[in-house]
Each structure stands twice: as structure tokens, then as C-alpha cells.
Amino acid sequence: MNLSLLTLELGVIGLALALLLIDLWTPPALTGRLGLAAAIGLLLILALSWNMSGGPPVVGCGGMFARDGLALFFKRLFLAVGVLVVLMGVEYRERLALGFGEFNVILLIALAGMMFAASANDFVLLFVAMELMSVSFYVLVSFQRSRLPSLEAGVKYLILSALAAAFLVFGIALIFGVGNTTNFAALNAEGVRLAQDKLYWLGLLMVLLGLAFKIAAFPLQMWAPDVYQGAPTPVTALLAIGSKAAGFVLLLRVLFVAAPVLAAHWSKLLMLASAVTILYGNLCAIPQRNLKRLLGYSSIANAGYLLLGVAAVNASGAAAVLYYLAGYLFTLAAAFLVICVVMRDNEDIGALAGLSRRSPLLAGALALAMVSLAGVPPLAGFLGKFLLFRALIERGAAESPESFRSYWLAGVAVIGVVISLYYYFAVIRVMYWAKDPPDLSPIIVPARVQIPLAVCLVAMIYLGVMPGAVLAGATEAVKALKF
């Protein structure tokens, strides 16, 4: 066993434990500093991750834990989310009633769960990592225990997550029963033989269902809007970005490390799920008035877009998923930062009225985020969608290039994108020219929000205009997968 493999995870857990202890002896007035300390700690760990890049892929801890490009890509993603969400938490502090120290600690532990998920090379680690996330989220979602929507969201998340975990465990049990191992590499080695067994298929299907919950994709997408709306905003951000990304890295690993033999057969199934998810998310988002709920539906739609890349079952599809997630991270983080600052007790879109005059920075940031989510160039969201479509069309062309039928899913996805423009632009419209905004008092944006917001905006534009470096990173990262 090589502990150096786990440096980043141990770093995050150590940070969490240290914060827990320090918090015990910190006077309540100073706990805000702890949040900043957590952000700085995460930044240091993020910096440390560059020290680990390169080198051949290593599998350690009894074959359970893989350290490869894919894992590292996602870990950086998670750490970046972590920094942004912790800073968001500092802004959100006085609305949390009590337990801000614990809030940070649990956030970090959820983050550690995601990072373990990025490296999972065994169904046991997959399950443990997922539970580490889920259990942390049960607490986080219902953290505002005097606020009913938060509690309601917590209960919903608990019950549905438990259901998903049941699917997952059942699937893992079937796989273990047939394959006699839970190790991804070992399962892959036996792939052709195992594919003969229908129970193995059923087991993997159950696992996929369990993961569909995490990424909020059809058929287990129902929870997202309720939970997103009820949870404290930083937690919503972590759910929307981190938890979804963790679901996707697990999906990629299960499909393309453990069962590449079956994955090729499931392209159609995944396409179907993706099409339904896209249409469901986008159509349901249209009438929403609560911004967090709207983002919940939008997150379902985005899970659908991301599934396109998985359904493409090729390297460019997986790379597109990674790229899209990177862009999605900064886009959504910007949106949630603005929500955190502006929507203190009213999350109705109408509360944004006049934001362009109250704070041009916040209005501009949210507008850019919406435009990026709508997939309009030159922002990250556009290039991400472009890459996903390209991968999908490559897949179609590989089957039969001349017939339009091989591209139907691209058509559905594109319709989804068009629908989404309607509700994203509605948000912008309210900010810039709502009639008679009730409140025009200027909003003072503290530096701890300005800086991460600026980072998000720069990253959104950078990823849209100069995609070269990150795209190369994503392409390199997916070499860990087999197609």
C-alpha cells in the first residue's frame, strides 16, 4: 500500500479534521475566517496536484485505487469546485443559523468522497465513495434546520438517494455473483465471458441506474429541482457541479474501464436516456419562476447533454464530457455566486429586477453564465456542446454516414438547446429591463465574492475562446478509458 497515492484525498480529509478541531477553540465571531482558511487549504492542495501530474497510470491499494490522468483531471475539477463553494459558504454564513464550522467540515468530506470516486477502480471503492458523498449531502441539504424547504429537500434526498443506493448495491451484488470479483480491471479481463451472462447485464444496468440518480438523468432525475431549491445555495452548487461530475467519472469508469464490451451495445440505450433527459429538463424549465429550481431543471438538461458524450462511446465523446464539465463548473459557480449574494430571502426570478443597476458586475456575470449555458459562442458552454455534438455525430457517421437517422439524437439535443434559450434569456431580460424594479439599492460585493466571480468569468471566456490547453488535457485524460 502506497500512501503517496492518496496524497490529495488525505490532504482534504486532514484539512477537514483540522478545521473541526480548530473550530472547537475558535470564538464564533471568527468562524468566517475558517471558511477562508479552508478555501486557501484547498487551493494549496490544488496547487499540489500539479506536482503529481505526468507519470504512468498507477493502480494501488489492492487494485482499488487508480491514479491516472482521468482521476487527476476530475480531482482538480473537484478541488476547484471546493474552493468556490467554500467561498460561497462564507458569503452564506449568517443564513446557516449555526454550525458554520461543521458545515465546512462536511463540505470537505463530501469533496473527499468525490475525489475517491474519481479514482475508483473497484465497485467497493465506488460504493464507499458514493456513500461518503451521499451521507454528507444528507446533512448538508438539510443544514438550515429551522427552514422547512431545506428539511423537506433533505428528506427527499435521503429517501431517493437510499433508493438509488439500493439499486447500486443490488447491481454490484449481481456483478460480484457472476464475476466473482468487484475489480474493474479484472471484470474487463473476463468481459467477453461475462457478457454471455444475462445477470451480468442486469447487474450493470442496476449500477447505471444508481449512477443516473447522482447525475440527475432520466429515469432518476425527479429529485433535482426540489432538492436544488430547498438546499442552502452553496450546497446546491456543490450538488449541481461536484456531485454530477462525480457521477460522470464513475459512469465513465464503469462503462469504459469495467465493461467496455457491453458499453458498445448500450449506445442506443444511453442515447434514449439522454434524449428524454434533455427534453424533460428543458421543457420543465420553461415555466419556472424560482431561479434555483430553474437551474435544477437546467441541470437535468445538462446531464442529458453530457450523456450524449457517453452515448457516443468514443474517445472524443469522453473528452467532450470532461471539457463540458470544466466549462459547466465555472458557469454554474458564477451563477450560484450571484444567487448567493443577491437572493437573500426571495429566490423568485423577479427578485433580479434592476440588478443591472444595482450591481453591473453581478448582472453581467449572471448574464454571461446564462448565455454560456444557452450555448452561445464564444463562451465555454458553446464549445462544450459543440464537442459533444461532434462526438455524437462521429458515432453516427461510424454507423452509417449517409443516412440522417444516425444523427437523430443530435437533432433532439439541438432542439433542447433552442428551447433552453427561451428561459435563460428570460433571466437576462429581468435583470436588464424589468419594469419598475422595487429595489434599486446598490449591492456591495465583497472581495471574497469579486475574486472568485472574476475567476469564473475569465475561465468561461478562456474555455470558449482558447480551448486548446484544456481540450488537450481532456483528450490525454481519457486515454485511461477503453472504447
Binding site: F386, F389, S403, F404, Y407, F425, Y432
Partner: protein, 495 residues
């Protein structure tokens, strides 16, 4: 030289954003200077191109690798067709600024968005990498939407959203087609000249062509996807309508020609008749509906649908004369429609506060605002296609080309022209020359300002200049249609 047009416009937009919010005068002057600089670059580029030995072949302006992994290049180039449209954009941009001189609300933001739109349009016309072209094409949607939704009039939010959704549906169709071409060709490139060399399988072209063509043509007002155009034009502020009709509709037609028709000649031939039919329906339908409108802007809006039908009909002839007529009609309609919208939106509506023909009737506008009346009469005459104006040469070429291919449809289109004359005469009489009951002095009316006169003269001058001396543009367009890029398209069609 030409590439500067894009950069200057975006720099102008950026400069406006940095100006203090209160400085309206500075904002106007910055916008005018930027537009003029863009026009100067366009003119210089055109002269330079004509003097060079290019003779119709595209000349590279900028070409460097942008996204290396995807083989996407930042490739700007120009040939006669693109230069014609760049010139149109330059002129329309200057005139639009002049006619927006009276915008008092959020002046700075208005002109920033305006220049961003102009910059994107320049970008579309000059891109020879299809990815880049698409990026500029989509980039134009945002300022378009905001210009209408913030500064527009009648049902502005509806009009803006309708336009944005139509544009996005179109561009989504285009995107699917483009990526499919990128993947299927196996060349892994978006470069137009490279892709045009590749022979796509016939079955592929049969669906890819209508997908991409219609995707672009939605923005060109192809019937029955034209419905955004009247509502959009009516909702937009004056400069917005001028740009929509003058330039944005040309984006669609240009894309249809440059991308869909160039890449998929076989698909083109398969769908030629159907699209020509739609184009002619558009001509007749647009003119007929314009005949019964009460809102003056709706009249012009539907007339745009009719005139853009000529562009699409010209494209479908696949003959050199028809194609050059189509390109010339793009230019001509851009100028004339811009002028008509300027008179209606700025000179009439901003003063009379109504565009309703029955309400305008008693006002006796020809006495109140003689300059407006004269301008409108001349512009209307140009729009009818009277000799001496640019529209005459363009429509003549289109019809001559179409006569060889679709004789019956051409007759129908001729009917459309007649109806076009009818609605214009109706507007003349009702809006300007009716016998009014109200005394001219009864309504206090602000005199036609200097910027308005200047803008009107620029546009009028252009249409007369091209009408009298079409060679100026035809010398640019005709050699280009002989170049290899258009060969595949023209060769197959009947000459």
C-alpha cells in the same frame, strides 16, 4: 485591410462600454467614427482587391491555427461576393448610426451592442473557416435580441424572442449539418475551400443540403419560415430594423450560398425546384400581404420578405446571371430597405408617433415633412425596381436567369413585382399625399435633422450610384462566380 473591419467594430464596442454612462454625445461620435472607419476599411479593401490579380479567387486575410486539436483555423478571406456584402454592411452601419442619433435612453449600451452586431456581421462575411463563420453567426444573435428587446417598440419582447428563437433554430440546423460534413468528409477540417473539394456522398447531400440551406435561409426570410421578419422588423428600433432588413437577412442568404450551395451541389440540384417554388411564393405572398397592412412598418417588413424571395430565386437559377443578380439584390435590398425603414421609423414614427396608415392619412405628411416624403418616394421607386436604381439591375438579372430555368415561376414572380408596385403606390398616397383635414401648422413637428439628411443621402446616393453604374459591383461579383469555389455549383445547372 478588410479584416480590420471586424476588429475596429469590436474595439469600438469595447470603447463604448468603457465610456462613462452619461456621455451620450461621446457615445454617438465614437459609434459614428467606428462605423466610418469600418466603411473606410471596407472600401479600401475592395479597391485593393480589385486592383490585385485575384480575379475572383478568395484572398487570405488572416489564417492561423485556433483550436489545433480540432484543426480549426482563424481563417478570414475575401472574394467578390463577400466584399460586396462587407461594403453593404459598412454603408448600412454608418447610416444606422446617423438614424439613431436621437436615442437618449442608454445611448452608450445601444451603440455598444450595435457595433458588436456589426462586427459579428463583418465576421460572418469574411470567415472562410466554417466553425468561425458559425461562431460569428451565433454571436450576432445576442446583440440582435437586446437591441430589439430593450430599445424596440410594438411587442418588442415578443418580436425579439421570436427572432432569437428562429435564428437559433436555423443555426442549430446549420451546426448539425456542418459537423456532419466535418466528420463525414474525413478531412477533419472546417476550411471552406478544403471541404468544397470533397465530394460528399449523394445520399448525404440529399438531407444535408436542405438542412443547412433552410437553416440559413430562415434568416433570409424564406417562406414559410419568414414569420419572424415582419414582427421582428416592427418591434425593432429604427437602426435595428435597418440592420435586420439591410444586413441580417443577408447573413442568411450569404450562408445559404457560401456554405450550403458550395458544399452540397448535388443536394442543391435535387432540391432546386422546391426551393425556387418557395422563393416565388415568398415574393408573391410578401407583396400581397404588404398590400393590406395598416402599419407602415409591416408593409416594409413584408416587402422585405418579397424582395428576399428574389435573392433566393436568383440563387436557385444556378446560372451566372441569376447568381450575380442574387448577390446584387442582396446589396440593393440592404440599401433600399434600410432607407425605407429609416424614413418610416425615424422620420415619420418619431414625429407623428403613429405608423398606422389610416391615422397618417389626415396628417398630410408631404407638407409637414417634405424631405421625408421625397426620400420615401425615391426609396419606394427604387424598391419597385424602376430603372436607374440598383434594384432594377438586380431583379432584371434574377428574372433573366430564372426565365431560362423556371419560366412559369418567373411569370409568377413578375406578378409579385406588379403587386409590389401597387402596395408602394398605396403607401405613397395614404401616408404622404392624402388630402389632410388637419392643417400642417396644427402639429408641432421637429424638423428633419442633419444626421438624418446625411444618412438618407448616403443610402440614396448608393442606390443611384449602383443603379447607374452597376459595373462597380458586378466587376467584383462576376469574376468571383467564375472561380473554382462556385464552379461545381454553376456547372451542373443549365446555363
Amino acid at each position: 485591410m478588410l479584416a480590420w473591419t471586424i476588429l475596429i467594430s469590436f474595439l469600438g464596442a469595447a470603447a463604448l462600454v468603457l465610456l462613462p454612462a452619461e456621455s451620450r454625445r461621446a457615445a454617438r461620435h465614437t459609434a459614428l467614427l467606428t462605423a466610418l472607419a469600418g466603411l473606410a476599411c471596407a472600401l479600401a479593401g475592395a479597391v485593393q482587391y480589385e486592383r490585385s490579380a485575384a480575379s475572383g479567387t478568395p484572398v487570405d486575410l488572416v489564417n492561423f491555427s485556433w483550436i489545433a486539436d480540432l484543426h480549426i483555423h482563424f481563417h478570414l478571406a475575401a472574394d467578390g461576393v463577400s466584399i460586396t456584402l462587407v461594403l453593404l454592411t459598412g454603408i448600412a452601419a454608418v447610416a444606422g448610426v446617423l438614424f439613431s442619433w436621437n436615442i437618449e435612453r442608454r445611448t452608450r449600451e445601444f451603440f455598444a451592442l450595435y457595433l458588436a452586431l456589426i462586427g459579428s456581421v463583418y465576421g460572418v462575411f469574411l470567415s472562410f473557416d466554417l466553425f468561425l463563420l458559425f461562431v460569428f453567426y451565433e454571436l450576432a444573435i445576442i446583440p440582435k435580441y437586446f437591441l430589439i428587446a430593450v430599445w424596440g417598440s410594438t411587442r418588442r419582447e415578443y418580436g425579439a424572442m421570436k427572432l432569437a428563437l428562429y435564428s437559433l433554430v436555423g443555426s442549430a440546423m446549420v451546426l448539425v449539418g456542418l459537423i456532419a460534413a466535418y466528420v463525414v468528409s474525413g478531412a477533419q477540417t472546417f476550411d471552406l475551400t478544403e471541404l468544397a473539394k470533397y465530394h460528399f456522398p449523394a445520399a448525404f447531400q440529399h438531407w444535408a443540403f436542405p438542412l443547412v440551406f433552410v437553416g440559413f435561409a430562415i434568416l433570409a426570410g424564406l417562406w414559410p419560415f419568414h414569420t419572424w421578419a415582419p414582427t421582428g422588423h416592427v418591434a425593432a428600433p429604427t437602426a435595428g430594423s435597418m440592420l435586420l432588413a439591410g444586413v441580417v437577412m443577408k447573413l442568411g442568404a450569404y450562408g445559404a450560398l457560401r456554405v450550403a450551395m458550395t458544399l452540397f451541389p448535388e443536394g442543391l440540384r435535387a432540391w432546386q425546384n422546391e426551393i425556387a417554388l418557395l422563393a416565388v411564393i415568398g415574393i408573391v405572398y410578401g407583396a400581397t400581404v404588404a398590400l393590406v397592412q395598416r402599419d407602415l412598418k409591416f408593409v416594409i417588413g413584408y416587402s422585405s420578405v418579397s424582395h428576399m424571395g428574389f435573392v433566393l430565386l436568383g440563387l436557385m437559377t444556378l446560372s451566372k446571371i441569376g447568381l450575380s443578380g442574387a448577390v446584387l439584390q442582396m446589396f440593393s435590398h440592404g440599401i433600399i430597405a434600410g432607407l425605407l425603414f429609416a424614413v418610416v421609423g425615424r422620420m415619420v414614427y418619431d414625429r407623428a408617433h403613429t405608423r398606422d396608415l389610416t391615422e397618417l392619412q389626415p396628417m398630410n405628411l408631404s407638407a409637414l415633412a417634405p424631405f421625408a416624403a421625397v426620400t420615401f418616394v425615391i426609396a419606394g421607386a427604387a424598391s419597385m425596381g424602376l430603372p436607374g436604381f440598383s434594384g432594377f439591375i438586380a431583379e432584371l438579372q434574377v428574372l433573366a436567369g430564372a426565365w431560362q430555368v423556371f419560366p412559369r415561376l418567373t411569370l409568377l414572380a413578375g406578378v409579385g413585382i406588379l403587386v409590389g408596385i401597387a402596395f408602394m403606390v398605396r403607401v405613397w398616397i395614404k401616408a404622404f399625399f392624402a388630402e389632410g383635414d388637419i392643417k400642417a401648422s396644427a402639429i408641432p413637428i421637429e424638423p428633419i435633422s442633419m444626421p438624418e439628411r446625411a444618412g438618407a443621402l448616403v443610402l440614396l446616393g448608393t442606390t443611384v450610384l449602383i443603379g447607374l453604374w452597376p459595373g462597380l459591383l458586378l466587376n467584383l461579383i462576376t469574376p468571383t462566380l467564375n472561380s473554382t469555389l462556385f464552379q461545381g455549383m454553376v456547372k451542373g445547372g443549365p446555363q
